[in-house]
């Protein structure tokens, strides 16, 4: 049976990046379709009618929504190689916890850094740096979040790194200074082919964020 895999995505999305990486980790051939979020395709609206968001993974015509659910799905369908979640139930629970932490905290916090100014931005920046430090503390001296092997939490977080220069520019701080271990981890992940192929150039993301910022902040 042929596997038809389509990914509806938006190039700077740190969530779409997760699914791209997972598919590449498993060596799955897929068709990448770029969505214009101001003009969403009929297919997107049909496949994700409730949230109307990207990424949408369409496998043999059936949609799977929510990036973190997609990553688990990909891990379970293509279970023959490159496991994404660890096999031990306790390690799996830890991996799920940290991916959930990233989902609950990162997006809202990072948004304040580039989409606001003044006091709101300062508070947002402090919150964001604290979140990064919590993650860095969890990483510790391990090569990856789960230890020796690249996996679920790395995939959940790495896409945000393409937005780091934008946060640094608008928030006026240095991620490397605040979180040197996390910075080293980013470099290590980028050496992985599945990651390098799935992430856009941070410069392009910064350009995009600059444009977005003008819509939210009157300078």
């Amino acid at each position: 049976m042929t596997n038809e895999v389509i990914l509806l995505d938006f190039w700077p999305s740190m969530f779409g990046m997760r699914t791209r990486i997972a598919l590449r980790e498993k060596g799955v051939e897929f068709e990448y379709r770029e969505e214009d979020l101001r003009n969403k395709s009929p297919l997107l609206l049909q496949m994700n009618p409730i949230h109307k968001k990207i990424p949408v993974l369409i496998h043999n015509g059936k949609p799977v929504n929510e990036s973190i659910i997609q990553v688990q799905y990909i891990d379970e369908v293509w279970s023959h190689k490159s496991p994404i979640l660890p096999s031990d139930p306790y390690q799996r629970a830890q991996a799920r916890f940290w991916a959930d932490f990233i989902d609950k905290k990162m997006y809202d916090a990072q948004r304040k850094v580039w989409a606001t100014k003044g006091e709101e931005q300062e508070t947002g920046k402090k919150d964001f740096i604290e979140i990064l430090k919590t993650l860095e503390s969890e990483l510790g001296d391990k090569p990856y979040f789960a230890g020796d092997d690249f996996g679920y939490v790395d995939i959940a977080l790495i896409g945000f790194s393409t937005w780091f220069p934008a946060y640094e520019k608008f928030g006026n701080f240095s991620v490397e200074q605040e979180c040197p271990k996390l910075t080293a981890w980013v470099k290590k992940c980028l050496q992985r082919e599945s990651v390098a192929k799935s992430l856009p150039e941070p410069e392009k993301v910064t350009e995009f964020v600059s444009m977005l910022r003008t819509k939210f902040v009157a300078e």
Partner: protein, 227 residues
């Protein structure tokens, strides 16, 4: 590895705490329930969940697992040979269960909470409309997932049943307070039948808060200070 003492830090009124309790019951796993006092957090809780400082926390051989849905999956995977599986076997069905569990926490429960906060006719109408829209989606989801069986998970209670069912006591309290039928047989007949089956299950009955007791507790914690 299923060996080791099991403890659960929680509180009787919390729907999130109810989730692992149902899961442990379904797997026939004995556990010690460590009840937190409302309004304060124990040393053990703060040590076991330093990131969120919230209940429930499962302690298995003193190792903590946090976040209710994550705990349920952990219970399912650890005691996999005991009782039926809490998640469906096909990856697609598992993805659907996880999707709806996320929807329930992020949208449906938020709409339920907003019910009591709503003030004025306009806001109340909007909240009702939002909630009923969500219910309609869940009614369809139930039909799709259950495939004619009594539960979202099929013949037996599973992850998604637990995720939604844990809110039923609070739903009933909200119905009383708002004088409005939130789960209506006319609008969502399948969900109503499912709710009955869920509440009467022997794994659920002992840990489902009594509506009257919960209503009294709700009055206490949501009591508005005197002007």
């Amino acid at each position: 590895m299923a060996s080791g003492e099991v403890k659960l830090i929680g509180a009787w009124a919390s729907p999130f705490v109810m989730r692992p309790r149902v899961a442990l019951n379904l797997k026939s796993v004995p556990y010690e329930f460590l009840q937190e006092t409302f309004g304060s957090k124990s040393e053990l809780l703060l040590k076991s969940n330093p990131v969120h400082k919230k209940i429930p926390v499962l302690l298995h051989a003193d190792k903590p697992v946090c976040e209710s849905n994550i705990i349920v999956e952990y219970i399912d995977e650890t005691w996999s040979s005991s009782g039926p599986s809490l998640l469906p076997s096909l990856p697609y069905d598992r993805a659907m269960a996880r999707f709806w569990a996320a929807y329930i926490d992020e949208k449906w429960f938020v709409a339920l909470r907003n019910f009591l906060k709503a003030e004025g006719e306009e806001e109340k109408k909007a909240v009702i409309a939002e909630f009923e829209e969500g219910n309609a989606l869940l009614e369809k989801a139930f039909i799709d997932c259950s495939k004619g069986k009594p539960f979202f998970n099929g013949d037996h209670i599973g992850y998604l049943d637990i995720s939604l069912g844990s809110f039923l006591a609070w739903l009933r309290v909200t119905e009383l307070a708002a004088s409005y039928k939130l789960l209506d047989e006319a609008k969502t007949p399948s969900l109503c039948k499912w709710a009955d089956h869920f509440c009467n299950d022997p794994a659920v009955k002992p840990v489902m808060p009594e509506t009257a007791k919960l209503a009294e507790f709700a009055k206490k914690i949501f009591a508005k200070p005197q002007a």
